[in-house]
């Protein structure tokens, strides 16, 4: 199988995935949810909140963006990635072409990553811009903060996406299971003292932020993991879970829905 043919398949499946994820009415809700950081920053600036600066930005964005917006957007998009094609009966069109099931998973996952980053990156950049403009220190004075949030957005999307995609091929109703993982497991396990938070993804995301941001509230976050280790752990975790999803999907049977 040539590289050119693989690229064509990647392009087709990624395009179909992007259209699935960004071309339905659901995207309106996703856009609104993703825009919350930007809307909040605008509101704080408009209200002329004196404490509104880069530190407050971090204090607000960690629980709001990383623990709500990121999880919810990745949950909705990753769980519909394959499940929606199964439910819509469009999957046979892909699977009766000379393309392996693992490749379908991989290409769809790439499409998912593009879609969620299109949704999540602009609002966080704009929110940062508003914060920096409001505190009047110039757009480049806290680039470590912006860099930290962009890196955690990318790697968080990859890691949560891998989890939710895996859940979606295992469970018929993946949204409920994903909600439990994203908002119950991650919140509870991530807040227990000791080594328990290492069982949550949010701990590694916060560790990345702690390592990347020089000054601010994240510097006091309790973690003995370096940003590099946390990043590698999340990358490895995502890759392993995607491979596992491919293996499960390879053995999955598709009975036509009535």
């Amino acid at each position: 199988m040539g590289v050119t043919e693989s690229m064509r398949r990647l392009w087709v499946i990624t395009s179909l995935t992007l259209r699935y994820l960004l071309g339905t009415r659901r995207v309106i809700a996703m856009l609104f949810l993703s825009a919350i950081p930007f809307i909040l920053a605008l509101a704080l600036a408009a209200a002329r909140v004196t404490a509104f600066n880069s530190d407050l930005f971090q204090v607000l964005m960690i629980p709001l963006f990383l623990q709500v917006v990121l999880i919810f957007v990745t949950l909705v998009n990753a769980t519909t990635l394959i499940r929606e094609e199964i439910d819509d009966n469009t999957l046979p069109y892909l699977l009766t072409r000379p393309i392996s099931k693992p490749a379908v998973v991989m290409y769809k996952y790439i499409g998912y990553l593009v879609a969620v980053l299109v949704l999540l990156v602009p609002p966080i950049v704009l929110a940062y811009g508003v914060t920096e403009a409001y505190q009047g220190t110039g757009l480049t004075s806290d680039l470590d903060v912006l860099g930290g949030f962009l890196v955690t957005t990318v790697i968080g999307s990859a890691a949560y996406g891998a989890v939710f995609l895996f859940i979606s091929v295992i469970f018929r109703k993946p949204l409920a299971v994903g909600l439990l993982f994203g908002f119950v497991w991650e919140s509870i396990v991530g807040s227990i003292p000791g080594d328990v938070p290492k069982l949550s993804l949010i701990h590694y995301l916060k560790s990345v932020l702690k390592g990347m941001i020089a000054i601010g509230p994240m510097t006091t976050y309790r973690s003995d993991i370096s940003a590099e280790t946390a990043l590698l752990t999340l990358v490895g975790f995502s890759a392993a879970l995607i491979v596992l999803t491919m293996m499960v999907f390879q053995q999955m049977e598709f009975r036509q829905k009535a």
Binding site: M1, G2, T4, E5, R8, R9, W11, V12, I13, S15, L16, R19, G23, D88, N89, T90, P92, Y93, L94, L95, T96, R97, P98, I99, S100, K101, Q250, E253, F254, R255, Q256, K257
Partner: protein
Amino acid sequence: MTAVAEAAGVSKWYGEVLGLNAFTASFGTGITGLVGPNGAGKSTLFKLLIGQLHANQGTLRLFGENPWNNVPLMRRLGYCPEHNQLYGWLTGQRFVEALLRLDGMSTKKASTAATAALKVVGLSGAAHRPTRTYSRGMRQRAKLAQALAHDPDVLILDEPLSRSDPMARFQILRTISEFAKDGGHVIMSTHVLYEVERITQNIVLIHNGKAIASGDIHAIRALIDEHPHAVRIETSHPRQLAQALARMDHVVSLEVPSEDTLLIRTRKPDAFYKELPGIVADTRLDVRALESPDDSLEAVFRYLVG
């Protein structure tokens, strides 16, 4: 090559539900109709043939290969699913093109092949409309176009005529016939029996997950002789007519399902149709209509599945 697809003792169950039950049949070259009622196991068999299901028991081969997760084999088949869902936002042209690109075709080649396939199924005029605006018949034709656009060796068509308008049916049947004439093989399922008969003499009858008969339609028709032939007669005096017909020794049963209908079953349809006019004339009973539910392939199917 004698068989395109072969199934030997194939069973497939979904939990406690049996989809196929020791199904054994051979699908030869040309067009073969897989005939059976809803729930007979036709779609299950097709899902097994296209490698989307894995048989619990038995052996299934398509061109001598196991289709389960057989990616290279997909190049040789074109599949038309039963359901009518398409990627509704794509135009017919883009829909077929996108799937052709999954075959590894370049944009230009895919575009040319998609245009040609849509022309073959008579959808050129609607090629640039989103498929969500298509009628059922147009959707069926779009599905057929994507199935044959990459010039496969075999078409596996799950109820390709289902819910189609007469124009679409005509176009689909013509396309299938021409594909077979050009050396392609077709395995199509349907319960619109008379239309199967119009394009092929080869059928496999499936019921409750089992192949109950297969082969040339004439051979299967011979089985009819072992079964009574039903004739429904519309008359205002069904009981009196029944009395008169009862003296025919080949009549097996007589029923009066309604006040103006007589249903008879005979072992010798030819003799029955020959003798009936005389009896009607002798008894001076009016016969408004004669209808045989056994006039087509439907009869074979009904007899065999009881």
